[in-house]
Subunit: 150 residues, 2 copies
């Protein structure tokens, strides 16, 4: 359990680095990494503005990238780390990918999938939330504060 | 209303052509077209096997393609025609795109978004269902029948 906690911190920090990259591009700062056998196999951040694509959330890019890398449709051995609670689209995408574990940082009380239904995820997916919650929430909060002050 | 019905039939036939293309590729046969001002601006079909990507549903490809074409994130003037009821992922993606109208053919009692929550769509999106329902259901039913008989 303690070992898991350390791993979660390590990989959430990597997801936060991705969120910082999104912020630099003027994107809502959300980042994700996909981990299989203790190694990062995909890194991604939100690119909705850059790509003019409302589906280009960090998780979607990460799933596409990881499945491309492995040439298979499923992520049954993977843990997806994402800084913010996935929205319904991303949760359902994670369900299609049959991801083994989802670890997220901050909750999203407006758009998070748990607002709709926790069953949007695959029934076998294990979920851990609140990892580096404060950091993950802060980067989003500051982003929107800066937008409002412009 | 009658005019709408004619248009719906016309464009659903185009979505069914896309579904037929998916079938030829060995993909679950679902097709979609995006229409703005009476013109098709994007056509797409399910490519999850071809791309090894569980997010590559017809609607996702169609949204990405249409928003790319217009250089904007939103589809507030668009009607999306899809042969099968969108899953939760696609419904939430359509919500992010703020699509004006969704027209679908057959219902999907196993994976359709209405199983989870009709509110996965954007509150302003108008929905019409059951257009060419039998054709849209038949192509999927036959696809799975053929798989089972292999």
């Amino acid at each position: 359990m303690e070992q898991n906690k350390e791993l979660h911190l390590k990989f959430m920090q990597e997801a936060l680095k991705e969120a910082a990259k999104a912020k630099e591009r003027g994107e809502i700062p959300v980042g994700a990494v996909v981990v299989i056998d203790g190694k990062i196999v995909a890194r991604a951040h939100n690119l909705t503005e850059t790509l003019n694509d409302p589906t280009a959330h960090a998780e979607m890019q990460a799933i596409t990238s990881a499945t491309n890398a492995f040439g298979g449709k499923y992520l049954t051995d993977a843990t997806v780390y994402v800084t913010l609670e996935p929205c319904a689209m991303c949760a359902a995408a994670l369900a299609w990918s049959q991801v083994k574990t989802l670890v997220y940082g901050a909750s999203d009380n407006k758009r998070g999938f748990t607002r709709f239904s926790p069953s949007l995820l695959h029934p076998k997916t294990e979920v851990t939330s609140g990892v580096m919650e404060e950091e993950a929430a802060l980067i989003v909060k500051e982003f929107f504060k800066n937008i409002r002050e412009r």
